[in-house]
Symmetry: C2
Subunit: 222 residues, 2 copies
DNA sequence: GCAATATTGATAGTATTACTATTATATTTG
DNA sequence: CAAATATAATAGTAATACTATCAATATTGC
């Protein structure tokens, strides 16, 4: 993955001070990814993070309102990254069927490449999205945060792929639901691979989730 | 729904004292459903619940180890209830295709009947499952709790319907994943209907989630 | 009916979390 | 070099998630 063209920008509403603007800020991001992965979101605190980066709670609070917003920031970063991969992956491919297959692979295959984008370890970040991202939207704040546009990137991805599906089969009735249930379902099934393998068919194959969704989506729209 | 034959039993590992064995216990269950729905799981505390039922925190702690286990208890109750509805609904139906359609309706249609089973309001409980149940499994305790058998009922449902799908099409390769992604996806899409309607196709129809999954599943296995 | 036992209520207390506030000390910038 | 800004160090608060103690109240067993 070429990094040169990728410049991910996150809505300034999500931080009090841009973590990209300083060394402490970047440490907050990179170490929070490691710590959330390690401790789980419930076990993760700003105090522990401060200790880990040899800083203080108050400093972290100057960047992010609270840990929920920090997780939201990471989530937005992740989806922006995914969107970039989608756009980049589908560029110059004229066949919509081919583009859909590429998109499905990006969305459902395991992330293994351990090349980190600057200070962000995408493999760990993806793991966090699998394990913790439901906690971002399943709160009493959703509607509020949705209005503020915090979920725009995610919705943009769904809409983009939904359009692609309509291009392939204009008569298919549920393009949005097919896409969002594929994106979120793939994350969910990846969690099941690790924790409920008895509910995964052919769990020994590393591409089982991907195969399932490829089959499912192509059958749905044909 | 006939209540006479339904006797839901929850694994005694999930409580310290059976809430069904006393009046306070039943109040804990019924009021916790109302409060969790109202405040969200994060905002819900044993202190607030104690106040609501005119009891004390210590009394509640004598029934449940903590609020996470209480939510797990409610989740188990919910899935036992769903399993009952599935068994009851499919009884005496010889055609497996017909049985599948019935199961899909039970799993994906909205729960509207407001007739509560003794002290449990199933409509509210279903709402809690939609809004909060991911928080039950997405924790660092999953594997531990899975080993203890806390998710057995859920897995039993998946296996049961997976068998049904194999009966209809023995060549279909992903029966477990199709079933679990349908069950969990339907809950997820119901959440989207309320909070991200722009991602729902034909969201004005009350059966949009159900229609989508009927179409999806039948196309997948045919 | 009364003693023994179990259950609940009332109260207090602790460690941790999720913050906010204050001030001193660096660091950057103009 | 002075002024502005960012950070570190420290302290403090309210709420949460419990644990402990003991008295009051039911329940049951004889």
């Amino acid at each position: 993955m070429k990094k040169l063209f990728l410049n991910i920008t996150i809505s300034p509403d999500l931080y009090l001070k841009n973590p990209e603007s300083s060394e402490v800020g970047k440490k907050i991001i990179s170490k929070s990814i490691v710590l959330i992965d390690e401790l789980g979101f419930e076990g993760f605190t700003f105090k522990k993070l401060a200790k880990e980066i040899s800083s203080t709670e108050s400093t972290i609070y100057r960047y992010f309102e609270n840990k929920h917003i920090l997780l939201l920031y990471l989530t937005c970063w992740y989806w922006s990254w995914v969107e970039y991969k989608l756009v980049f992956g589908m560029i110059n491919i004229s066949s919509p069927e081919e583009r859909l297959k590429i998109a499905l692979n990006i969305l459902t295959k395991p992330i293994t490449e351990d090349e980190s984008f600057f200070h962000i370890n995408e493999v760990l970040l993806h793991q966090i999205i699998v394990n913790e991202s439901t906690k971002v939207i399943y709160t009493k704040e959703v509607d509020n945060e949705n209005e503020k546009g915090y979920y725009t990137v995610y919705k943009q991805i769904v809409n983009r792929l939904s359009d692609l599906i309509k291009e392939i089969n204009p008569d298919y009735k549920y393009p949005h639901m097919l896409v969002s249930s594929t994106i979120d379902g793939a994350l969910h099934q990846k969690y099941f691979v690790d924790h409920f393998p008895s509910l995964i068919d052919n769990s020994q194959s590393k591409d089982c989730v991907s195969s399932f969704y490829n089959d499912l989506v192509l059958n749905a729209i044909k």
